[in-house]
């Protein structure tokens, strides 16, 4: 149990995970505050940003909470590739969609085509030191005519519809949009078609940090939140949470009293037993 308690989290996108697939570097560098429930969103969200990596479907009133957050002035950043980002976009009434198919670039990449390198940006990147970013098993965006596209893949890239890592005749070729934003109410929605750009191993690649900083500062956000509720959890994380609940229960007054009583009984039992003998 001690091993489980003290072992670092290894889950994808876990803010305590210091390994290549965690978010520890990003959450520390940007002072990100995790949320376990949409009820924790501030009532006046102006000047704040909420990052969502929707690896689980949204249920209940979470989608409505997101809509309220954006319409009242918050900036919602959706980092998604193959999961439930379209559920959010649909509920917000936007035409924009994630294609959900892998974007591969056989020439402009980092080591192989699954890590495409993006070098084409719109004017927002001028004079900010942004030259290139690297995606990690990313995707692309669709229906971007009504919003502002921020970055495109190279013309050598393509969408691998049938996931065979080979370009086939009918597959769309680049340039393809991978990041865009649009206004909604008082706030903004920013969509980036790769959730992995925030993980520890990706934050130091090329100008990924600058890109994320620019995304967060589109509306000069001073407080950044991340939705923990829809992130994947490993059994280790779930067990750590369960241990945490046990610790909380034992830390309560009655729990502590019970534990102390049990330990006293166990400690004194040999002495009592010997007396009886």
């Amino acid at each position: 149990m001690l091993l489980i308690w003290f072992h670092s989290s290894t889950g994808d996108f876990s803010e305590d995970n210091p390994f290549w697939n965690g978010l520890e570097t990003f959450t520390t560098k940007f002072d990100v505050h995790p949320l376990d429930s949409m009820d924790e969103l501030p009532p006046n969200p102006g000047g704040t940003a909420l990052i969502v990596i929707p690896y689980k479907p949204f249920v209940g009133k979470d989608l409505e909470d997101l809509r309220n957050y954006v319409s009242k002035g918050g900036t919602l950043l959706i980092f998604d590739d193959y999961a439930y980002g379209n559920q959010i976009l649909s509920h917000l009434g936007l035409d924009l969609r994630f294609t959900g198919k892998p974007l591969l670039d056989p020439l402009f990449n980092y080591r192989n085509e699954w890590l495409p390198r993006i070098t084409t940006f719109s004017d927002f990147a001028q004079g900010k030191g942004l030259n290139s970013i690297v995606l990690n098993h990313g995707s692309t965006l669709n229906n971007t005519s009504q919003i502002t596209v921020l970055a495109w893949s190279s013309r050598f890239s393509y969408l691998d519809f049938n996931c065979n890592s080979t370009y086939d005749q009918d597959e769309p070729k680049g340039p393809l949009p991978i990041a865009a934003y649009g206004k909604m109410g008082e706030g903004y929605v920013v969509a980036v078609s790769d959730s992995s750009i925030l993980i520890n191993s990706m934050t130091e690649m090329d100008d990924n940090v600058i890109f994320v900083r620019i995304m967060l500062n589109l509306r000069e956000s001073t407080r950044i939140y991340i939705d923990r509720l829809h992130l994947p959890k490993t059994r280790l994380d779930e067990t750590k949470e369960a241990l945490g609940e046990v610790y909380k229960a034992v830390s309560s007054p009655w729990g502590t009293l019970g534990l102390v009583t049990v330990l006293l009984i166990l400690a004194l039992f040999p002495i009592w037993r010997r007396k009886v003998v």
């Binding site: 091993l3 056989p106 020439l107 890590l115 098993h137 280790l236």
Partner: protein, 654 residues
Amino acid sequence: MVKRSLILLLVLLVFVLTSILNVSVMSEVNLTPHEDPAKAESSLDSFSLLMYYSDILMQISIGQYENASMLADSFRFAYVPEELRYIIQRYNDLMLELTQVLNDTENLLTEASTLLYAYRLEEVSRVLNSTGILLGRAGILIRGLEDATATLSSRLRVFASPAESRVRQAYNRLQSMLQRLRLLTEDYRKLLKTLRGEATQIEIVELTPTEITLNLNASSVLVGGFVTTLGSLLSEGKGLAKRAVTILLDGMPVAESLTSQDGWYSATVRIPYKYVNSSNFQAVYLPRSDDRGVYLASRSPPVAIRILFYKTRVGVAIPKEVYPGLPMTIEGEATIMGGVPASLRSVRIFRDGVLLAENQTDLQGRFEVRVVTNPRVPVGKHRLTVGIEPQKVFAGVTYEGELNVVKATSEMSIQVPSILCLPANMYVEGYVYSSFGPVKGALVRLEISEYTITTETLEEGRFEATIYMPLNLVPSGFEELRVSVEPAEPWNAPVQIKRIALVINPANISLMSAAFLSITAALFTNPRKTRLTEETVLTAPIVQHKPEIQVVGSPRSEPAPRPEDARGRVLEAYLRVVEKIVEVTGILMAPYMTLREFLSAVRPNLKDAVDYFADLTLLAERVLYSPYFPEEDQVSKAEGSTERIMKSLKVGSP
């Protein structure tokens, strides 16, 4: 053995548990979301690489040199495996150099053509020579590129691919682009030859030279003022009438005039509002219509003119420090030479190149601009530029200064209890203020141990909060209370204060006591394991007295019945021997002695019998402490040893 198995099982369990717990739950997402970049396999797509190169060469072959350069520059973002890095870098360098050379060649050929049209033969000759050199260089570069293409293709294993494969198709395309480059340089050579021919023709024809002069009616002029240029166009001493003469100012045409009957011309030129100290005039004659093929062009020597204008000076007063969200005043005074006020002049103020405000100087040349600093401007030094716009004969001026954006230091005083006994309600009250007065509406966050609470400061900067700390397992000791204040006003800086409180936790103290009692009980109530030191074994008390013979276990009052089984017989033999040894040597077998300790004690006294007694001791020990069942021959041997020992002891006994 059992212990070892248990440890192994524990290690295996931990390993399996850890592996299972690390399994990520990614329900319903079938595609791999990411991979570790450090372990990513590297691969190069030869087809894409060759297609990219052929795209660049295609742009060069159609004269789109700028596009070709941009494409070649973008290549730095492509992935190149380490083993190909050098050759690809060389290939890129060759392409870039070829692009530049062909671009320069085209420009020179265009220039030569223009000069030739204007019959400027001396200049044409120089340009054509330079073009020839460049074309020679281009030929060398193309040959180098062809060799490099062959090498690169070989390294990419292009020639091992089937003819109909995509890679071979890309290679063929690249080869066809190289062919087009050869054709392009061939075209340039032909054009160069043609131009050389035309120049030679003109020389042969021996066109009539012309001469043009230029004078100005003034050596200096106010900016925006007028200058009259006059001069003559002559050919072999005679004036050329009705010829167009172009007046250039700093190389730009500004006027045109027709020569009179005797070849004189005159033009009035307005000096533009460019606030420079001097400019150069030149007159140029270019043969047109019927003059073409008859006269050579001519250009006058440049004539300089001083440009006069009034310089403007400005003095600006900037506040030492400005605060985000608060107004600041920038004032100043603009004057021209002699201290004369620069009145009614436009003033523009920029911060870091971004326009902040616009205003105008008054009749005394003074200006005052009040602007509210952006609440989100970062703290630190910023570049402030104040520009006075030019106005006719008055030049403009720019002032560059530094704007120091700061936030007012917030201070906080709090009252906190210094000792707490759990469970407790920790009441904290405080007051936050800055140089601007009480800080109201600020977010106050109080954190101690794992407890956090937030509140807001009131109108007068006061706040109060209660943190409930229940009984828990946290050890007693000193805990740090952190109070952080985030002001709502952008001009006030955040502040944090820390205080230490002693937290006494009765539950934890009880827990520690229980643990201590447990350890104590375990240590001091187990009588069994008393260790014998070696000294104790070696110096076992040798009690030398005769009358009472005591052996291991209880005293025997009558002889026990003879055992039938082998184990019994071995033990009976051993006991008989021990009795005898005790009788003869007087050395007792004490209750705490082991069989071997007894053997060690009596060894010096046994002489010849010591080996037999040692064997008997080992057998007896084995029978006594293990489930071992001796064979008949071992039993017989033991009984035989017993007889020998008895005999030996009888002989040696006093």
